[in-house]
């Protein structure tokens, strides 16, 4: 694996499978009474969040703590981020504090890339979502969830048909998912109104459709992306009602899915907009599972970036004998 995780494209097929397999092992820790491993004891993980995202921050925090790392939460939101010095100065501070890994969430596409490549700090950088660019650990947890539901938690996703619906243009989740799912052999179809697809999407390793109904019957999983209501004001679509009618997943559409197909959403949801409440709460929905799986996957990522060659989980590992 590379030293940083900035883009899902940083992962080869073997890297991705290693993360997923490691996450499977680590997931079992969560079932134990003591959910903690000594693996990263003495290492410092900084959660550097320039954007509010309690869910993602808590997930990384839980992951790091279960591996016994010291966690520092650094919320830079609200401070003046208009000048780029902020990122640089913050990085230099973290370097001085001896951060082994920096988990960064930033509103600007490319900020984690800059942090990793600027020479400002030496630790590993994990992209926890940057602007409209990427969110690779979300893609990993999504793939983990699909693999569990569709493939018994083993192997890749060869031949699986995944449909991603919604605001692809502004979605870092979509970008990372397309890249990772292609690496894992899945067949991805993006569905969106043409206004919410980026120029050049035809060069991505996926299919594109404007029509959700023609794709559902052949989908193993359908992932609904959050659509921000303010997009309506910029005329990406006429009204919420029309968006929901043309691209929302309601019960009728869910019924068109194959028996085994799952419904995913990276959260936070707009119930009634891109996804009907009954769909979100249905047994096909993996939305809560995705949150649980997020911790295992992020443990795997932190372990593999920081943990060195020791196995992540030894059969006898406990707090005591690991010393």
């Amino acid at each position: 694996m590379k030293r940083h995780l900035i883009s899902a494209a940083d992962l080869t097929r073997d890297d991705a499978l290693l993360v997923l397999d490691t996450a499977e092992e680590l997931a079992h820790i969560a079932e134990r009474p003591i959910k903690k491993l000594p693996t990263l004891r003495g290492r410092t993980v900084v959660n550097l969040f320039f954007e509010d995202s309690t869910r993602t921050r808590i997930s990384f925090e839980a992951a790091a703590k279960r591996l016994s790392a010291d966690v520092i939460n650094f919320s830079a939101k609200g401070s003046s981020v208009s000048k780029g010095e902020t990122l640089k100065d913050t990085a230099l501070t973290l370097q001085a504090m001896g951060a082994d890994a920096v988990v960064i969430r930033h509103g600007a596409s490319g900020a984690p890339h800059t942090l990793a490549n600027s020479g400002w700090l030496r630790g590993s950088v994990v992209n926890a979502g940057d602007g409209t660019h990427e969110h690779p650990t979300q893609a990993l947890l999504d793939a983990f969830t699909m693999r569990r539901r569709l493939n018994d938690g083993k192997g890749d996703l060869e031949g699986r048909r995944i449909t991603i619906v919604g605001d692809v243009l502004h979605s870092r989740v979509a970008r990372s998912n397309v890249l990772l799912l292609a690496t894992l052999g899945a067949e991805v179809t993006l569905v969106a109104p043409p206004t919410l697809l980026p120029i050049g999407v035809e060069t991505w390793p996926c299919q594109v459709s404007y029509d959700i109904d023609s794709t559902l019957a052949k989908s193993d999983a359908v992932m609904m992306l959050r659509v921000q209501r303010e997009r309506m004001n910029a005329s990406y679509f006429p009204t919420e009602r029309e968006y929901s009618r043309r691209y929302g997943l309601d019960e009728k559409r869910m019924a068109a899915l194959p028996e085994h197909a799952i419904v995913m959403h990276p959260g936070p949801m707009n119930r009634g907009m891109e996804i009907a409440a009954n769909v979100a709460d249905s047994p096909r929905s993996t939305i809560v599972e995705q949150v649980t799986n997020g911790v295992s996957v992020r443990m795997a990522v932190l372990y593999l970036l920081l943990g060195g060659s020791e196995p992540a989980v030894t059969t006898t590992a406990t707090e005591e004998n690991a010393k």
Partner: protein
């Protein structure tokens, strides 16, 4: 005033000749010229002699951003780049939208003495695109402004643009348009295309430039004015300008060195040194721009030299300033992209980097033939030299060159401004 004898220089890349400079003018041209007493001899075997370069588009940053560049440091960079005249853009602080500001810049240029500085006047007050600045007063000032531009911003209102085009006809002025439809480029970070989609950076579509150029050539034709287009960056723009010229309309255009060489693939690094406006485009655009410059559709190479201090570039892409240095590398880029590719000969370089830009700016003393009696505004280039661009060695006060570490052909050996060397042996005189 000293005399100089340049020996065995290839005038416009042609046969080797001796050129005697005396009293600020070219006194004699020939072979085996005798040197009068007290003449400094410059051996120029293999060197190419061109008229001093003229830049239509330079940001000298003074007044207001003296931390990035001053007239003094910018004209040093210009002289080292082979320039004898530059047009200083109006987007200073305060904006050059009054006779007072343009005269201040003009005077600073006079004091520097290394390169003529011709201030560009703003088209509208404060570059706001709403009310015409006092164009006539700027023209009548000591700065004698003939080029007007809101560069950095587009004169987007069609009525204001029409009025400006018409108004400056009274004194043979020209409006230089920064073609950027504002609504299509809100928050734009890079060329809109395959790369922007992958990087998740807001796109700056080619059509935002082309739509304004199309509108403005039609406006210029309608009111019978001349129009200049700044930093053309797309293949479509070249097509529109080619069409406008085929109609006989008085439209001219410039291209920057960086748009002749660099593409948006470089943005994959998220390195803000590649952030510029208009943005780096695709390889197809680069090819079309080179072709347009070669066939004369594009009249001039203009640097859009845009210095920025380190803190405005050593940061994440989204908050970085747009612009890159150009004066000290322009000729090398043109040699590499146009001469070594066979698209232009040295006479063509002289035409696109001196003769035509001087004509567009209506500068009488620049862009002249290399002939007896002409003012000795000259640049001597060693085309066989190669150099690696080292930002800290540049004379500019800023270091935001996208060419750091790149080996470029050619070296400016000497620059003469009205017979006085501003650069000699590749160093400031």
């Amino acid at each position: 005033m000293s005399t100089y004898l340049i020996k065995n220089a290839k005038v416009l890349g042609g046969d080797a000749q001796d050129v005697l400079i005396s009293d600020g003018r070219i006194a004699e041209i020939g072979t085996g010229l005798a040197a009068p007493d007290a003449t400094q001899i410059i051996e120029a075997d293999g060197h190419v002699l061109l008229p001093g370069l003229v830049d239509l588009h330079t940001h000298l940053r003074e007044p207001g951003r003296e931390d990035a560049e001053t007239v003094e440091t910018g004209t040093r960079a210009a002289a080292l780049g082979g320039y004898t005249a530059v047009h200083a853009m109006a987007n200073t602080d305060p904006v050059a939208d009054t006779a007072g500001v343009v005269e201040q810049v003009w005077r600073l240029g006079q004091e520097s003495g290394r390169c003529d500085v011709h201030p560009v006047g703003a088209v509208t007050i404060g570059l706001n695109g709403e009310r015409l600045a006092e164009l006539g007063a700027m023209h009548e000032s000591a700065a004698n402004v003939k080029v007007f531009s809101d560069d950095g911003k587009c004169v987007h209102d069609a009525v204001i643009m029409r009025r400006a085009l018409e108004y400056v006809k009274a004194f043979d002025g020209v409006v230089a348009q920064h073609a950027q439809e504002p609504r299509l480029t809100e928050g734009a970070q890079m060329n809109e295309g395959t790369v922007s989609g992958i990087l998740g950076l807001r796109g700056w579509p080619a059509v935002a430039e082309e739509a304004i150029i199309a509108r403005d050539v039609l406006l210029a034709a309608h009111v019978g004015s001349r129009l200049h287009i700044c930093h053309v960056s797309t293949a479509g723009s070249v097509e529109i300008i080619r069409w406008a010229k085929s109609k006989g309309w008085d439209v001219t255009a410039e291209v920057t060195p960086h748009h002749l060489l660099l593409t948006d693939e470089l943005v994959r690094s998220y390195d803000p040194v590649y952030k510029v406006n208009p943005p780096l485009r695709t390889a197809e655009d680069v090819a079309a721009l080179r072709e347009g410059l070669a066939d004369g559709t594009i009249d001039a190479v203009a640097t859009d030299h845009a210095p920025h201090p380190t803190e405005d570039k050593d940061c994440e892409w989204a908050v970085a300033a747009m612009g890159m240095l150009g004066l000290e590398t322009a000729l090398g880029i043109v040699q590499q992209t146009m001469v070594e590719s066979g698209l232009l000969d040295w006479a063509g370089v002289a035409d696109r980097m001196s003769v035509r830009p001087a004509r567009i700016g209506r500068l009488d003393g620049h862009g002249r033939a290399i002939a007896v009696g002409e003012p000795a505004n000259l640049v001597l280039v060693d085309p066989s030299a190669r150099r690696t661009v080292e930002p800290s060695e540049l004379a500019s006060k800023s270091a935001n060159t996208p060419y750091a570490g790149l080996e470029l052909p050619g070296r400016v050996a000497a620059t003469f401004l009205r017979g006085v060397p501003t650069v000699i042996d590749g160093k400031l005189a």
